[in-house]
């Protein structure tokens, strides 16, 4: 009898438990994405918080410093893009002014990373803000003295990455299997023991984007020149930019 009562209590307990816990299950899931469009009203409270921050920025950002005849994106192009070529060319040109003045040497090549191009350049006026959007990072130009063997590793990296990492001073051609068929620096074959001066940024020099070939290096020159400032300086002296996709990094299909 006692055993029976115990059993009943257990039943009651289970029942209460199951009642409280009444297993709710997911019966339906609806998923969608809502575009944040200008048809949505601006929340006034939020805008009031943003306003003073925005006003301070706009003072600096809105000055027009150059002109873009087209819209340039890093997705337009296979292994080299117009915007990437522009970035590499700017680092080469602006960086070399500082590097040459300081060392009387010249930059042989430039390597940046595709992921480091953070925005498109829209057709129309180029402002200070454009430079901030394309290059928001505080990275600076670094010139690294590399031996020919390291340049080989760099070419190998580029062939394996299969990405449009911006380059200058290098010509790299891959076959249809992404194997290197031609690799030139300054238009000449790579000489194993020769020292080359490659400009990049501090992030990549420190192994960013798995670029492990910069270290160890014979010597490093920190130009204390932010890439973004190099862009702003370049835009200020060029009335209209004109970057193009070219044959610096290609694949024969």
């Amino acid at each position: 009898m006692k055993k029976h009562q115990l059993l009943i209590s257990i039943f009651i307990l289970i029942n209460i438990y199951s009642c409280k816990q009444e297993s709710l299950g997911v019966s339906k899931i609806e998923g969608k994405q809502i575009a944040i469009k200008d048809s949505l009203e601006i929340d006034k409270d939020f805008d009031a918080i943003i306003s003073p921050y925005r006003a301070r920025l706009e003072e600096d950002m809105n000055s027009v410093i150059s002109y873009a005849p087209e819209t340039y994106t890093k997705n337009n192009g296979d292994l080299n893009t117009a915007i990437g070529n522009l970035m590499a060319d700017i680092v080469f040109e602006q960086g070399n002014i500082v590097f040459n003045k300081r060392t009387t040497k010249n930059i042989d090549a430039v390597l940046l990373n595709h992921g480091g191009i953070r925005s498109i350049i829209s057709k129309g006026d180029i402002t200070t803000e454009t430079a901030f959007k394309v290059m928001p990072f505080e990275n600076s130009i670094v010139v690294v003295a590399l031996k020919g063997q390291q340049i080989d590793s760099m070419m190998q990296y580029l062939s394996e990455a299969k990405r449009a990492h911006p380059i200058q001073g290098i010509q790299l051609t891959l076959d249809k299997n992404y194997k290197i068929s031609k690799a030139l620096i300054n238009g000449k074959p790579i000489i194993k023991n020769k020292t080359y001066y490659v400009a990049t940024n501090d992030y990549l020099y420190n192994g960013g984007d798995k670029m492990r070939f910069f270290k160890p290096s014979d010597s490093v020159y920190y130009l204390d020149y932010k890439i973004r400032n190099a862009m702003i300086d370049y835009f200020k002296k060029v009335d209209t930019i004109n970057p193009k996709i070219d044959n610096r990094f290609t694949q024969t299909k």
């Binding site: 009651i12 297993s23 019966s27 899931i29 998923g31 575009a35 949505l40 420190n206 192994g207």
Partner: protein
């Protein structure tokens, strides 16, 4: 397993009807459908303002003050709403260069974000730069596979959090991408990276079995999928390798999906994987309807995407 307990409980209930006259129906009557809304963003990258009318790709899209209007409207419709972010809050506009992320956190707090995970760019002013902005954030930071023990972020990041909405327990945990080779070590310092799959396996077990969650969400900054590097751990591989996760909210790859992906987990059950591009152009919205198990249709959960 769940099915078995249910059968056992029904047997008990039936037994009681004969023994004591209690009705199982009496408690069933109290069960009504409940709706949980999950709103999410990823890779907003300091895009406080909407894109300008001249922008070549995203003209007039995005903007925090517009997102705030939308979120408020959705919350008014369903108070049982969670708002989550999958990382890379920082970096991308001069707002970050000038103010270091202060405004991003202030606005997210005002919008009542519940939690965010940490993206690689959230280390862009160093781990100290992230730490310095914490006073402006009133939401949770969740990361289960970054061990911050030997950094200033120690105790400021939790592996998971359980949110309760109308009696429904929602477990949310965070996972982040491998920092080595992506972020300068001098930025993330002694942050330890743990294997995301192992950690996610652990987390989903804890949330399911110990915390008894009704819904399990993984907030991920691993990336959706890497077609050129298919073996790299990503949201799709995480979905496939784990169980009990209902939804993976992703980031990092700035992936615009035409609709949320329905993937299959290690038990062949459905997992929703979603990501809404970047820059605050879109808001993800996933509604979960809860019903008594025995009210469910024969074919289980219907997914409408």
């Amino acid at each position: 397993m769940k099915r078995r307990t249910f059968i056992q409980q029904s047997t008990a209930a039936t037994a009681l009807v004969t023994l004591g006259g209690f009705g199982f129906q009496s408690c069933n009557a109290s069960v009504k459908t409940k709706k949980i809304t999950i709103l999410h963003t990823n890779d907003v990258h300091s895009h406080i303002d909407a894109f300008g009318p001249e922008d070549g790709r995203n003209a007039n899209q995005g903007g925090v003050a517009r997102r705030a209007t939308l979120v408020e409207a959705i919350r008014n419709e369903n108070p049982n709403t969670l708002l989550l972010d999958a990382g890379d809050i920082f970096q991308g506009t001069p707002y970050f260069n000038y103010y270091g992320g202060e405004l991003e956190f202030k606005l997210m707090s005002k919008m009542k974000y519940d939690a965010a995970t940490i993206g690689n760019h959230d280390f862009d002013n160093g781990i100290d730069g992230l730490y310095a902005q914490l006073p402006h954030a009133s939401f949770q930071f969740l990361s289960a596979n970054y061990n911050f023990k030997n950094t200033v972020m120690d105790t400021h990041v939790k592996p998971y959090h359980v949110f309760k909405k109308e009696g429904i327990k929602i477990g949310v945990f965070g996972v982040g991408i491998k920092l080595d080779g992506l972020v300068d070590k001098k930025m993330y310092k002694e942050t330890d990276y743990l294997d995301p799959i192992e950690v996610a396996t652990d987390m989903s077990r804890i949330l399911k079995e110990e915390e008894q969650c009704d819904l399990i969400i993984c907030l991920s900054h691993l990336g959706y999928y890497y077609s050129k590097n298919p073996n790299k751990v990503c949201d799709l591989s995480l979905a496939k390798a784990t169980k009990n996760i209902d939804l993976i909210i992703g980031g990092h790859t700035h992936t615009f999906l035409p609709k949320p992906t329905v993937a299959q987990n290690s038990e062949g059950k459905n997992v929703l994987v979603n990501q809404v591009g970047c820059y605050g152009i879109n808001l993800g919205k996933i509604d979960f309807y809860f019903d008594a198990e025995n009210n469910k249709t024969a074919d289980g959960t219907s997914i409408i995407v």
